[in-house]
């Protein structure tokens, strides 16, 4: 193996980092509960959900080089699916969550099938345009609640676990996000993940050596959309309802900021970016009304210090090793 990681290997985390993250996330709500800081358990759920959404985006943006400015659409499809199913009171989790994922993945397959015929700036614009269509649909359709969105009376139901309770819901989020992270890890380490990174590196060559580039990109985009839909479904449960705000292009933009901040193409990039973004937002907004200004300045500073994202700082400085 080469001594320095190449783009094909830098997107793979070590097993130890995965164990460390899992343990830390599992004991976090217990620590907060003991410390009497129950508010932070709900915040932890929100961070985990956005980490999942950002990691889903990282699969296409970071690994695959497809800059989607439309991932809010998949958050929205997932969220609205759960909210619609819960209109009769409550819905069973085993039905609502998979349906949300399937609906979002189907949406991503349709949007991807059209968008992936374009590249670069056109791809950015066309994904944005599709997401805006979903936003206006949600605003204007009476069945989707229009501007007010769809409130939920209760979270989805899971036998044996009380999801109405903050700690119970946190572990529900952790279990689903954990499954999603395992899936993403296996993807990144597979032949498929390797082909995806290589497409980002040099798409023309990948076609010339015989890869069905379009189909590979569409598969990644569909999977990413499905996982973003799962995040949207969890968000709807967390906030007991959805509003069209979930579908605004701000949401898509924030996810991109999280990925770039954490480290695009690094496995923990989405999680790191989401955690830092949310903690900064949370801590600054308690002090000043103009928190967006300070948040912007801080993000600018971080990006200047670590242009490839925070996860890139962990990489040891490359040794001079030239032919």
């Amino acid at each position: 193996m080469p001594s320095t990681p190449t783009p094909l290997t830098q997107g793979l985390p070590s097993a130890w980092s995965a164990i460390g993250v899992a343990v830390a996330l599992a004991i976090y709500p217990l620590l907060m509960s003991v410390a009497g800081q129950d508010f932070y358990i709900g915040l932890g759920s929100r961070v985990l959900i956005l980490a999942l959404a950002a990691s889903a985006l990282n699969l296409v943006l970071g690994y695959g080089g497809m800059i989607s400015l439309g991932h809010a659409a998949f958050l929205g499809i997932g969220g609205y699916t759960v909210a619609l199913l819960a209109q009769g009171g409550s819905a069973p989790a085993w039905l609502a969550m998979p349906l949300a994922v399937i609906a979002a993945a189907a949406g991503a397959a349709l949007i991807g099938a059209v968008s992936l015929r374009t590249r670069g700036v056109y791809f950015i614009m066309i994904t944005l345009a599709f997401a805006q269509i979903f936003y206006y649909l949600a605003v204007s359709l009476r069945g989707l609640g229009g501007d007010d969105g769809l409130p939920m009376l209760a979270r989805v139901e899971l036998p044996g676990l009380s999801l109405g309770d903050d700690i119970g819901f946190y572990y529900f989020v952790l279990a689903l996000a954990g499954l999603a992270f395992m899936l993403l890890y296996r993807l990144a380490a597979s032949r498929f993940g390797r082909a995806l990174v290589a497409i980002r590196e040099n798409e023309q060559r990948m076609a010339a050596i015989g890869y069905p580039v379009y189909r590979l990109k569409l598969a990644a985009f569909t999977l990413s959309g499905g996982l973003a839909g799962l995040a949207g479904a969890l968000l709807a449960n967390l906030s007991l309802g959805v509003t069209p705000h979930l579908l605004t292009w701000h949401q898509s933009g924030i996810l991109i900021v999280m990925v770039i901040l954490g480290g695009s193409g690094y496995f923990w990039g989405g999680l790191t970016g989401a955690a830092i973004y949310m903690l900064l937002e949370e801590s600054i907004s308690t002090h000043t009304e103009h928190w967006n200004l300070w948040l912007g300045a801080l993000l600018l500073f971080i990006v200047l210090v670590a242009p490839e994202g925070i996860m890139s700082l962990r990489r040891k400085p490359a040794k001079a090793e030239r032919a």
Binding site: A189, A198, A208, G210
Partner: protein
Amino acid sequence: MNPALLQAQGLVKRFGGLLATDHCNLEVARGEIHALIGPNGAGKTTLLAQLSGELAPDSGRILFDGKDITRLPIHKRVAAGVARSFQITKLFERLSVRENLALAVQARSGHSFDLLGAVADEAALDQGAAEIAARVGLGDVFEQVVATLSHGRQRQLELGMALACGPRLLLLDEPMAGTDPEESRQMGKLILSLRGHCTFILVEHDMDAVFRLADRVSVLVAGSVIASGTVDEIRSDPQVIAAYLGDDHDAGAAA
């Protein structure tokens, strides 16, 4: 059996008002090194792109081993046995030589939709990569990142990438481009060492190399083949001399 491995029949490609390929016919026999020469702007690269599948012809058809491949996408042509190299090196510059070649070997072995199997321990891919690296003379820089290699070395890898696809027909777009005389000689030796293993279409500006390597030569002028024959026939063809070889100095200076 049909002796022709590749036949292009009446290919036409227009870019707006420009007729880049004008009812072009080309026949390449099994096992030969077939050079494609012609002045700048004659449409050599455009023709090559239609054979490889990057461009779709407006009319005409392409037969490979007797089968019509005119409408096949690139990846299916590669699977059928048609691979190409590029005039301007197009490698995975941030990856090592091993990773570059292993990607090409992986494409051939399929399973790129295998979403969950770990790839890190796939010794077979690395084994295949090592064989190709040795064949194109890159065994000593196997673990090096491509961007750190000299231009001549990158040209060798460019050929290796096409070779790793396991082609029966290899389309080489100016493999000597930008190499010094020594590197160019090495590349020539490399191509000759592969003669018989596979059929070549060689687009090249270096006439010495063409006359040294080619079994047969086709001359492309203004989008169509005006002559096809052995090196000696082409050298003495008055039409060719008038159209192309006559102003050898201009062609050489422009190359």
